[in-house]
């Protein structure tokens, strides 16, 4: 089955062609980072405006690169939610209209299901069941994944997502938008432990997380240093390193606890924070020490992308029925409400 995947839930336009037999054939991503930078964050209306300009050219590119005339597609998958309503509607409109014109089935995909399944794009792909640590700007969740559509949320953040904490902390340190990657880059030159930050809920005895207190601790530290006139480049780098270390400590502790609780031997990491090098290295080391395997999606598929939507679509379309073209988007959508494929 050959599927076109379309992702427009936030600030990346992602399009890909995935074939269940041959794997990923082509993928393209247009990031809007430059567009939103001077606004200090994603402006939903501008994101939607960009998606509607980029989407068709990207579809034409992946069709050409994959050698797939659109009529050769077996189906179309798009992100139905959660995400920004206006942005989601762009992908939903184009995908459903295209499906109707081609006479091909169309399926709406849960964005987080795309992320949870994205490690299946890698070679070798992890077998079910596995534990998935989903860490991005919008989510910090741990799922027990038994198969397509069979997800049990076993850990979550009580407040900020890990990626959100990275971005907000970066702003406190005066780093440019988007702050997360900039903070990780700064942390490389800093020394963890020179200043001390808390590891929130690391000993809570469950799989819940909290990152807003950590951000507040950084704010207090930054103000103190500013008042004392000691917030120089070196101090900022040290704070960044300690902050990153604290987040990674918590994520590793929770991931290990999730493996213990479920008895799973495979851990999958997905979402934008999964691109963090420190997290990757330390999680690899910790997992191999315990005889578990850890799978990361390729860096390109950690952030939002069309490939994961095409993949999830291929898995779900095997069982899809043709509809009447009525479509909707779900800006809020509980992953646990999904059925098995």
């Amino acid at each position: 089955m050959r599927v076109l995947g379309i992702e427009t839930s936030c600030d990346e336009t992602g399009v890909a062609v995935y074939d269940s037999a041959a794997g990923l054939l082509a993928h393209r991503l247009h990031s809007q980072i430059d567009l939103h930078a001077r606004y200090g964050g994603v402006v939903p209306e501008l994101a939607s405006r960009d998606h509607v300009r980029r989407l068709v050219p990207l579809i034409e590119e992946v069709a050409g690169e994959s050698g797939t005339p659109l009529t050769r597609l077996d189906g179309i998958a798009y992100t139905e939610g959660p995400g920004l309503a206006g942005a989601l509607l762009v992908g939903a409109s184009v995908a459903n209209a295209l499906g109707m014109a081609l006479g091909k089935p169309v399926v709406g995909i849960h964005h987080l299901e795309g992320h949870l399944l994205s490690p299946l794009l890698a070679d070798p792909r992890p077998d079910f069941p596995f534990v998935a640590l989903l860490v991005s700007g919008g989510h910090s969740q741990i799922h027990e994944v038994e198969g397509v559509g069979r997800y049990r949320l076993i850990g979550d953040t009580l407040d900020d997502a890990a990626g959100e904490a990275f971005d907000k902390t970066a702003t406190l340190l005066g780093l440019p938008y988007p702050g997360g990657p900039a903070l990780a880059a700064l942390a490389v030159s800093g020394r963890a432990g020179v200043v001390t930050l808390p590891r929130p809920m690391i000993d809570s005895g469950d799989l819940m997380m909290s990152f807003s207190g950590l951000k507040t601790a950084v704010r207090t530290l930054v103000r103190k240093r500013q008042a004392a006139g000691t917030l120089d480049a070196r101090a900022k780098a040290d704070i960044a390193a300690e902050f990153q270390c604290a987040v990674v400590d918590v994520l590793i502790a929770k991931a290990v606890a999730a493996l213990d609780e479920t008895g799973a031997s495979r851990l999958v990491v997905a979402g934008g924070v999964g691109a963090n090098r420190d997290l990757r290295e330390r999680l690899h080391a910790e997992a191999s020490r315990r005889g578990a395997r850890v799978h990361f999606p390729d860096l390109a598929f950690c952030t939002d992308n069309g490939a994961m939507i095409a993949l999830a679509g291929a898995m779900r379309l095997e069982h899809a029925k043709e509809g009447d073209g009525a479509f909707t988007v779900r800006p809020r959508w509980d992953l646990a409400s999904l059925g098995a494929a």
Binding site: R38, G40, S48, L89, L98, M100, G325
Partner: protein, 230 residues
């Protein structure tokens, strides 16, 4: 000539399919639920004509101004249908479609088209109709405070919900006649598209874009820091 058209720039979803004279139409007041009804309505009007998408000459859509989300849904659907069926697209301005409606319903040949733009503003343009050449834009679409709309000649006809949301506007402009219930329809969009299709004035799906008119939709970090407001 076979044209399919869609307009979702207002809270009415409007779909039409026809040859320029006879149309199958759907006009449904759907509020924000354009997405749920758009493609089912398109299937219905095609079936009513007994036409397939592939047999059409073009897809036309109301490109705006109007509801940002609404014009993007119409645009995205036009793009998707055109890309899949290998058709060209004709984007039609919603204010011009409003003028066409005023001509059909009231024989108006000089029209000030005025749509509510929220945020205490209106989208406005002025059109004059020539029996042979069709509509000429005498004032290009812009977004203005209702107080800043310049008065056209008094014989001009006012059309659009801008006159409903701002009831004093027609009197201030000295317009003898207006229709505050007029709105852009897919039928008007299709009628305006016909001569363009005949001229070969179509665009590819990838070049079919909305027309927003309002471009300032957010404040930059620097503007916010300086205390600016939208």
């Amino acid at each position: 000539m076979r044209i399919l058209s869609i307009d979702s720039s207002t809270d009415v979803l409007s779909v039409a399919c026809g040859d320029g004279r006879e149309f199958a139409v759907r006009d449904e007041r759907v509020g924000p639920a354009h997405a749920e009804r758009a493609l089912p309505c398109i299937r219905e009007v095609l079936a009513e004509q007994g036409w397939t998408l592939a047999s059409l000459d073009a897809i036309a859509f109301g490109a705006g101004p109007g509801s940002f989300t609404g014009v993007r849904i119409a645009c995205g659907i036009a793009q998707g249908l055109a890309l899949g069926a290998g058709l060209g697209v004709v984007p039609i301005g919603t204010l011009e479609a409003l003028a066409q409606e005023a001509w059909c319903a009231h024989d108006a040949t000089d029209v000030l088209a005025c749509l509510d733009a929220r945020m205490r503003e209106v989208y406005v343009a002025v059109y004059a109709r020539d029996a042979r050449a069709g509509w000429r834009e005498t004032r290009a679409p812009e977004v203005l405070s209702p107080d800043a709309v310049p008065a056209p000649p008094s014989s001009t006809f006012g059309a659009g919900d801008g006159f409903a949301v701002h009831p004093a506007l027609a009197a201030r402009l000295g317009l003898a006649r207006h229709d505050a219930a007029a709105r852009p329809t897919a039928r008007a969009v299709a009628e305006l598209a016909v001569p363009r299709v005949l001229r070969g004035d179509l665009v590819a799906a990838r070049d079919a874009h909305p027309v927003y008119v309002r471009h300032r939709v957010a404040l930059t970090a620097a503007e916010r820091a300086a205390g600016a407001r939208l």
